[in-house]
Symmetry: none
Subunit: 210 residues, 4 copies
DNA sequence: CATGAATGAGGATTCATTCAT
DNA sequence: CATGAATGAATCCTCATTCAT
């Protein structure tokens, strides 16, 4: 808010700012061209820094790549955390989180490429990120299960359920990005998702809710 | 030493054989080391051919990469086609297909890496492959829907349903690969999957089936 | 002598010729600028070849550096071999070899830098080369010793003698290079060397020869 | 904690101390890793100073490198000076100097690498150092010659003799370093050296001494 | 004077692609 | 058609040096 803080940056703050600039630049370059084409040249150029500066902050290119998803993923999860508070049951939590994610993804369009290519370009980071997500999901599912919200499943099945739901969600997210223009159609996708996780394929809602 | 039919290869057949050898070699190298490390050197070496021969069959490396998933994916789909015949409803078709896939994946361990890295390394091929799969899925779902097997959903929702189910299935497949050793645990994963798509999260099976 | 053999170079001969060109180019660049400044860029440029061609012949820059002294050293030793034949005693062998070396060094001015910097830049090659030289020296000394030409020394001392003589010779060589212009002064250096190894410091020639 | 004289350092003394620390650090780093790997980073780190401080004392890295051998060589020569006093003839001076050097080299193990790599990394310093050594040698030889100790040589030959003897001595030194463990074998090397410079190759000691 | 963050020139190496044989 | 030698653009990384604090 205070517009004129710029000259107040101390030495250490500038270092930190450069590091952040490099991370943000990397994230954007990867979003546009993929990990493979994200040369250090391109990253430092976009950050407005000299090539050599990169190596004052990261030992290797891979070190940075392995950092991006954890850092940016944590920012995302923090953001989603807030959105979910106050939801009554698991499905509501899930659908609210989805909406919050959509808003966030609109501002951070590089995120999907960063995430998906990490599977190949930064596998350990990818696993860590998925595990972070799964962890929250798992806890959320467990709470619901303990309240009796998941009558069809045994406790031991929650683990598998976690990953099945994450997989679907990932698809819905991808669709969201693909159809970023039309808010209508994405609403339909969410609704179909809601029905599938609520009632499954076979049961007619009316029968089940009866 | 055994002459075994070698001289029977006509000129054109030899060309075809070399092309196939390159495709198979590529698929194996990628399975072991990923697209990024699948240099043309390595591919031609494994195919037992000269480096330059590659360019007799493919204009660029990317052209081959873009070919692999469609070619190998089609082989897979042919294989699965047969397994599904005779199934009575959608869920049975799906579960039978899964089993058939597991058998096939055991013999073609390179497939998952080929598939997943294609998302990054050969995006157009990836999309085409997903589209091929979706096409069959969609038709299968439509048939079921027409028979009234999916009472909760409208016709327009089948498209979304297709991708949601593919996403989950992909996860189950990945789990299968990860746990290649233990057949037990994978059966549990399938069972959870079956319940989720059959009844959803909320409904207790007994209630629904009643 | 036959001026028009050039087009007769077979495929394999051209490869060999390129390899030789790289070695010769390296040797010259090192002679002029030292190992440290002998970048692959410079070497391939002087050889009239593309940068990448280097790596078809040598795995790394160090591999080439480790090759140079052995290769060129062997050429030198072959050259000296011939010059020594027919000499009667050790000292005559030594002095004749020196002259032959001087003639060779005039045509191969890069040799000294190649040799001396190898101590730092290619230590293993350096050791091998010194050992090659020592080997011949040692044998030559032993033959003389067996003929009673070295009355002051026991057999066990020949090893040390070998290296002491090599050290001095190296200096005389270095002087030769430094004074490449004047043939007179180098003759004086040789003469002083001859007297030192013949009579030592203390003995007057006349007394000893009496 | 112990205040030991630290506060006594004046401004100028502190500057001097830093400069000395850099020189000593450089000498040690070079002794361990060679000139080529003696980055300014490493040198300043070992000196316990900031990287930039280097440039308060030396204009360039090369300037420091060119300083080291002269500085440390002078320290060595001062040390040897004392050892030689009282020797009666040239050969005794020489052998006493050798022993003194061995003792010094044991405490300053970095010296040989500093010296030998200087030939490549700091050629002008190398020449200056050799010249310093030669200067003392030359004077020593001249004194002996004037006393008639070198009957076989004319005055003009002393120059060459100087360098021949330095060369051999250098070899004996190198051997000393290589065999740092065994005092016996080094004594044998010295003895062979003594005989060579005393009697030459041809003369039997008894005959000559008769 | 001391510091260390920033810089970018320079160098080794890889690999898709071309082309003469 | 098959081959593999030659090519050079592109990339990562190092490190001496500069300069603002």
């Amino acid at each position: 808010m205070q517009a004129t803080r710029r000259p107040k940056l101390s030495r250490a703050e500038k270092v930190e700012a450069n590091r952040d600039a490099l991370i943000q630049a990397a994230v954007e370059v990867i979003g546009e061209e993929g990990y493979f084409n994200a040369s250090i040249q391109k990253i430092t150029q976009r950050a407005g820094l000299g090539l050599g500066t990169f190596y004052r902050h990261f030992e290797t290119q891979q070190e940075l790549f392995d950092l991006l998803l954890p850092v940016k993923g944590a920012e995302l999860l923090d953001h989603l955390q807030k959105a979910a508070t106050g939801a009554s049951d698991f499905i509501e939590v899930e659908l609210r989180g989805m909406e919050a994610f959509f808003r966030w993804a609109r501002e951070n369009p590089w995120f999907f490429r960063l995430l998906h290519e990490a599977h190949v370009a930064a596998p350990s980071a990818y696993k860590r990120h998925i595990e972070n997500i799964a962890e929250r999901f798992r806890r959320s599912l467990l709470r619901s299960w303990e309240k009796g919200e998941l009558p069809a499943f045994e406790k031991a099945e929650l683990e598998t359920l976690t990953y099945l739901l994450i997989s679907m969600r990932d698809y819905v997210y991808a669709e969201y990005v693909a159809r970023a223009d039309s808010d209508d159609s994405i609403a339909d996708v969410i609704e179909t998702y809601r029905k599938l996780i609520t009632f499954g394929l076979r049961t007619s809602p009316t029968a089940a809710e009866a």
